[in-house]
């Protein structure tokens, strides 16, 4: 019984808001982030926009420390999720469990649909079949694909369409009950209908989860996000309510970008 509690409840040590101050990041010699500070509110959708190579993905990957995997990458500044300083001796795996991630290209594991979703819970010690069944069903329902997939749980996840694969990846991330989900251009490889489905999903999920999404699609940002941050050359130029940022940007560079003059 205790095991179940451990797996089902979100890890208590983390909150759901993200606060960063004075973040600097280098890839070897190249400085990819400069003095970025931001307060991302809990249980809302926050979008990052900006031209290619400005450091959006880099910044996003700081929140679950995927940057640790890049040799020569150096991070400075304070990153807090809730009250926890995530670069201060936290267990990385526990952090990543709490901060899920969805990648640009869907990356389902070459396993069955069921095993894909059960992968995370199994990692954290859930072994009982009934429990796993329950988690798989809940996660798929949350990702609005239970009806589509319930009859093919045992089939390969690689046989799904691109859009289905991406939603499966979202379901896979949800299966460990994360408090925060990071999405790096989750729809850029998808058709408009699949994109619409994922956008709906984001809105629904934001009731219980903090979502940070990187997007190149400005309409997408206005459609789904509560907050928007604009990056340029490694700096966070502007951050505020989405409506404000798009309706009356404070910085002229933001204005030029969203009216399409560069990028």
């Amino acid at each position: 019984m205790r095991k179940k509690d451990k797996s089902a409840a979100p890890a208590q040590e983390f909150g759901q808001s993200i606060s960063v101050s004075c973040a600097n990041l280098w890839y070897g010699e190249l400085q990819a982030l400069r003095e970025v500070s931001i307060e991302i509110p809990a249980r809302q959708v926050t979008a990052f926009i900006g031209p290619s190579g400005c450091g959006k993905s880099t910044f996003l990957k700081c929140f679950n420390r995927m940057n640790d995997l890049v040799p020569g990458c150096r991070v400075e500044g304070s990153f807090r999720i809730g009250q926890t300083d995530i670069y201060g001796g936290t267990d990385v795996n526990a952090l990543r469990r709490h901060v899920g991630m969805v990648f640009q290209k869907p990356n389902p594991f070459p396993m069955s649909v069921y095993d894909n979703i059960a992968y995370g819970p199994r990692t954290f010690g859930v072994r009982r079949r009934t429990e796993l069944d329950e988690i798989v069903e809940t996660s798929l329902r949350q990702a609005a694909m239970w009806e589509e997939l319930k009859d093919r749980l045992g089939r390969s996840a690689l046989g799904l369409s691109g859009g289905q694969q991406q939603r499966l990846c979202i379901a896979r991330a949800l299966a460990v009950r994360p408090g925060v989900i990071l999405m790096d251009e989750p729809t850029s490889a998808l058709d408009p209908i699949s994109t619409g489905k994922i956008e709906e999903l984001c809105e629904a999920l934001s009731e219980s989860t903090t979502i940070v999404i990187v997007t190149h699609n400005m309409q997408q940002a206005t459609r789904i996000s509560h907050k928007t941050g604009f990056f340029l050359l490694g700096e966070l130029v502007e951050f505020g309510d989405t409506d404000d940022v798009f309706a009356n940007p404070k910085d002229s560079r933001t204005e030029r970008y969203i009216t399409g003059r560069f990028g």
Binding site: D91, N93, N107, M111, S112, D115, F124, R129, G154, L158
Partner: protein, 680 residues
């Protein structure tokens, strides 16, 4: 959380330990080679040993007393070089043209059977080739030869046949890797199929072809048994087409069974000379393939004249290949084609004029490409086709001749396979049919009723045992290299070099090592365990390399997906990466299996060469099937039994391959997850 960290550390340690075992194996082989050969070199003198023309050892020679034998390997160095050159001439040429045939001329219906035939040829153990040489080739040649037919010609034919599959498959791969755009670019300019193949596509594949030939040479250098069976083996210079001669590997295998102190040292020293040749060839290979890689990189760089710019632009370019890129490409093609426009093949283009023409043509098209968007590869390919087109002096007959040669080669290769298999099966199957006790009979001491059952059992033991040793160690070492150690860090470079060297050591040298190192340790006479240990050292590099290769093919996205879910390295490796790499690992296992069954040189003195009673444990010895075939055919009294053994050997190799392939297919389906969710 604590427990998981301990698991991580333990996992890492285990993988690192496996890598260390690989290094230790190399160190052991080298310590052995140096330790055993140095006294010999000291006593005999390096120069005298290498250039001495007389080899007449005395097994009573010791290091403390004056020598009564003479030890010089010059004739054998000449022998090895002759055999290798002959093999290259036969197998290289035939293989090259067979590859051309397979890649460009083969009717679609024939393609699969012929490729299957080539891989079949690769699977046939070398003793079987040697046996075929004894029973078919030598009698045939003896009609025109002054002797029984053995000598350089027979050796070249048999060795050539042996390296044929290596050459064919590697050449073919590199020919088929040439971008389609080259072909299309040339045909679009009015060239015929043959002209395009021989003047555009094959020149573009040249580095790969060179590499294939060099690998073939490496194989021919290290081959032992097949050569022993047809070369005659008298320690004399190879002269003319016929006449007994000896190669370095043969020298070792002929005498190691009963060598005295100095003689043994001299044999190890022979191994060192052999290894030096192999390493030289490997270096050459490294240089060539390194250049090939660099050339490819350079080509790529030129294709992307502009640094990949904005993602959206890139996407647009990919989405509409018919837009701007197509326009510029036709411009590039036409500008490249200008000098020969209209009458493409009229004037032979002098090399000077065309080489002056190339830079301007490519520069102009690069100029066009630069400001727009990253140039798609296809266009770079067309442009390059144009360059190659002009760079080659035009020889109108060459393509037509090439076509003919390719056809001939295809027929010859197919014919050779049919001949080898057909002959052996035609002679062997009736034997088995009339006399099933050959397989199932019970061994009787001193009887003339031979049974190969003990040999089959010993072979299967050796296969199982050596795989059990080599596969886990090799796979774990590869995991350490690919998943844990930093790319190109010092330990990784050391381990890689170690593995490369290990891969180059000829199998007979392993046999020598096993005989001197493992056999005394395990009771003094050959045993299955000693043989398996010896052979598993030989398998390690294959397993490590192909596992690494297949680990590299696993997309990084999968690793990241797993890590991002909070899984540790160990779990990511065990549950996501390794399963995805399993088909590649499996094919390495199959390959290794084939080698264990087919090898005889390393077993001869580590596992025993007696066709004796059934082995009851790993400390019992006994000939493997391949060794048994060597023994039976060598004595000349048991030819019928030898045919039967050859049939069994071939069937065993092919059967295990088929089995493994079947398992592989099922595994692959399973891997992709197409089964009911497993219960763990």
């Amino acid at each position: 959380m604590k427990a998981s960290r301990i698991r991580e550390t333990a996992g890492r340690a285990v993988f690192a330990a496996a890598a260390v075992v690989c290094v230790a194996a190399v160190v052991a082989v080298f310590v052995f080679l140096i330790g055993k050969s140095l006294p010999a070199y000291g006593k005999l003198g390096v120069w005298e040993f290498v250039t001495g023309e007389v080899w007449s050892p005395d097994r009573l020679d010791t290091y403390d007393a004056p020598l009564s034998g003479t030890y010089g390997v010059r004739t054998m160095i000449a022998g090895t070089l002759t055999a290798t050159a002959g093999a290259l001439l036969v197998g290289g040429v035939l293989g090259y043209f067979t590859a051309v045939f397979l890649a460009f001329y083969c009717p679609r219906r024939l393609r699969r059977p012929l490729s299957a035939a080539v891989s079949l040829l690769a699977g046939i153990p070398s003793v079987v080739y040697g046996f075929f040489g004894i029973v078919f080739l030598l009698p045939l040649l003896s009609h025109i030869a002054p002797n029984n037919g053995s000598g350089p010609l027979a050796t070249a034919l048999i060795l050539g046949l042996m390296i044929l599959p290596t050459v064919v498959s590697l050449c073919r791969v590199s020919m088929e890797a040439v971008p389609q755009a080259y072909y299309q670019g040339s045909v679009a300019m009015g060239a015929t199929h043959s002209e395009t193949v021989f003047r555009i596509v094959i020149p573009a594949a040249r580095p790969g072809i060179t590499a294939a030939l060099i690998l073939g040479v490496g194989r021919a250098l290290g081959e032992t048994m097949a050569v022993v069976m047809v070369a005659g083996n008298a320690p004399a210079y190879p002269e003319g087409l016929f006449g007994s001669f000896r190669v370095l590997t043969a020298n070792i295998v002929m005498e190691m069974g009963y060598a005295g102190e100095v003689q043994e040292g001299a044999l190890v020293a022979t191994g060192v000379v052999l290894l030096a040749f192999v390493l030289l060839v490997n270096l050459l290979f490294g240089a060539v393939s390194g250049r090939a890689v660099r050339a490819a990189v350079a080509r790529e760089g030129r294709g992307r004249a502009a640094k990949p710019g904005h993602r959206a632009a890139k996407r647009r370019a990919e989405a509409s290949p018919a837009g701007a890129p197509a326009g510029t490409s036709s411009a590039a093609a036409s500008s490249a084609g200008v000098p020969s426009a209209g009458v493409p093949f009229a004037g032979a283009l002098s090399a000077g004029a065309s080489s002056a023409g190339i830079p301007s043509a490519s520069a102009s098209s690069a100029g066009m490409a630069a400001p727009a968007s990253p140039a798609p590869r296809r266009r770079a390919g067309r442009r390059r086709a144009g360059e190659l087109w002009q760079a080659l002096p035009y020889r109108p007959v060459l393509p037509r001749l090439g076509h003919g040669a390719a056809l001939t080669a295809g027929i010859l290769t197919g014919g050779a396979l049919l001949l080898v298999l057909g002959f052996i099966f035609a002679k062997g199957l009736p034997q088995l049919w009339q006399n099933p006790s050959l397989i199932w009979g019970k061994y009787e001491f001193g009887s003339h009723r031979i049974t190969v059952l003990p040999a089959i059992v010993a072979t299967l033991w050796a296969v199982a045992l050596s795989l059990i040793i080599a596969v886990p160690v090799g796979v774990m070492a590869a995991v350490y290299l690919g998943e844990y150690a930093g790319r190109n860090s010092l330990p990784v470079r050391i381990i890689r070099t170690a593995i490369d060297i290990l891969a180059g050591v000829p199998s007979i040298v392993y046999g020598l090592f096993g005989m001197i190192a493992f056999v005394p340790l395990l009771g003094g006479s050959g045993s299955i365990l000693a043989g398996s240990l010896t052979v598993s050292m030989m398998l390690l590099p294959t397993v490590v390399r192909s596992t690494e290769e297949s680990l590299r093919a696993v997309p990084d996205a999968l690793r990241q997906g797993s890590l991002a879910l909070g899984a540790g390295r160990l779990r990511t490796v065990l549950r996501v990466v390794l399963p995805s790499a399993l088909p590649g690992i499996l094919s390495a296992v199959v390959l290794s299996m084939g080698r264990v069954i087919g090898e005889s040189a390393p077993f001869l003195y580590t596992m025993g060469s007696v066709i004796g009673p059934l082995p009851h444990g790993v400390l019992d010895g006994g000939a493997t099937l391949a060794v048994a075939l060597y023994q039976l055919s060598g004595e000349g009294w048991y030819m019928n039994e030898a045919y039967a053994a050859a049939v069994v050997l071939i069937v065993l190799v092919l059967g295990l391959n088929l089995l493994a392939e079947g398992c592989g297919a099922r595994l692959e389906r399973r891997l992709k997850g197409d089964c009911h969710a497993k219960k763990r």
